[in-house]
Point group: C2
Chain length 204, copies 2
Amino acid sequence: MSKGEKTRDKILQKAAGLASICGLEDMSIGKLAEATGLSKSGLFAHFKSKENLQAQVIQWVANMFTEEVLRPAFREQRGVPRIRAIYGNWKDWIDGESLPGGCVMIASSTEFDDRPGTVRDEIVNMMNTLLDVLTKSAQIAIDEGHFRSDADPRQFSFEFESILHGYHLLQRLLKDPDASKRSDLAMERLLSTYEATMSKNTEN
Amino acid sequence: MSKGEKTRDKILQKAAGLASICGLEDMSIGKLAEATGLSKSGLFAHFKSKENLQAQVIQWVANMFTEEVLRPAFREQRGVPRIRAIYGNWKDWIDGESLPGGCVMIASSTEFDDRPGTVRDEIVNMMNTLLDVLTKSAQIAIDEGHFRSDADPRQFSFEFESILHGYHLLQRLLKDPDASKRSDLAMERLLSTYEATMSKNTEN
DNA sequence: CCAATAATAGCACGACCGTTCGGTTTTTTG
DNA sequence: CAAAAAACCGAACGGTCGTGCTATTATTGG
């Protein structure tokens, strides 16, 4: 890894943290330069525009999310255990274990939903990929016999995602001490609806 | 209503629309002045700071939400019909029937969750009030015998809110043509879990 | 209708924004 | 080790930001 790539990575790391707190748009080149110890123009040279910087931050965050939330979960058993692992890791991610300001993807989803451009496209792509992973995981749970065979994997991914958004609200904005409990209960209700009944399990 | 109050209201109306699109922070005094036809300083005089303007926008939006989503729903029958009405009206609200950029409350929830100050306090207060209304509506559904007597109204409000956040994501960011269907199915699943079984209904 | 008051405009300010450019340092390469 | 290339800095640019002033216009109450 060359010098340039190394500093570029350091910049993106700081940028992701900054963006998680104040948003992608309010993350300015000046603040970021100060946070990294670089000059404004020196930093800017790595990205040819702010829009490009924002897009790369999104990609960087998506990679980090894959690494810290998805990949560890995919070492768990296929089906429901893996889904539970994704859920738990994502909650930790929202709590700010990796980025101080919580989930950049959830935040940028509402920040850029009405702003056409490269950044929005990147966020849409990232979010669709994530939903596809969740859908695929639900399909695996069906194949494993954990979920009912007539379950709708896409519908599951929607409801799964919704719960995490709700958790984000209670935990980060409202700081509700019951946030985790509320979220867990919702997830249990979701899983129990999709899980094969015991009588159906005996079919296997 | 005096002249000042009238123009202040017009400003807040435009401001809410602008904020729904580009966020509360990126809604600048200059843009807002141009949109309303006022001068920057003339507009500024109505609010003594931008922070105060933002806080008043939140209050204005909360009032509008009450008027367009909650109040019509409260003309419906107590219990589940009322809850369904809130759900339907809120979906229309998110679709942008009232504000072009969708639900300001959902957007500002993630925009200000890490920014202490008056604006954040206002958003927290608004969101808590909203969740309280939902909780109370669930409690009424219990009292009416629509929901099981051992149902948790607060838990219901969390899951209800979560679904709307999920809908916001699919509808406004991803523009998923199935957004409404996904959301409706989730809401049906939520209601059916909480609804009293028919055998329990015969107790009455 | 006139005086008191409120509403609005014009202008200027310092600060920060994203961006460009030319020069200097550092790294990489042959 | 020298030459080529990459990385980085400092200064400056036109703009916009939020926010004060002062003056002028419009509204209101007696």
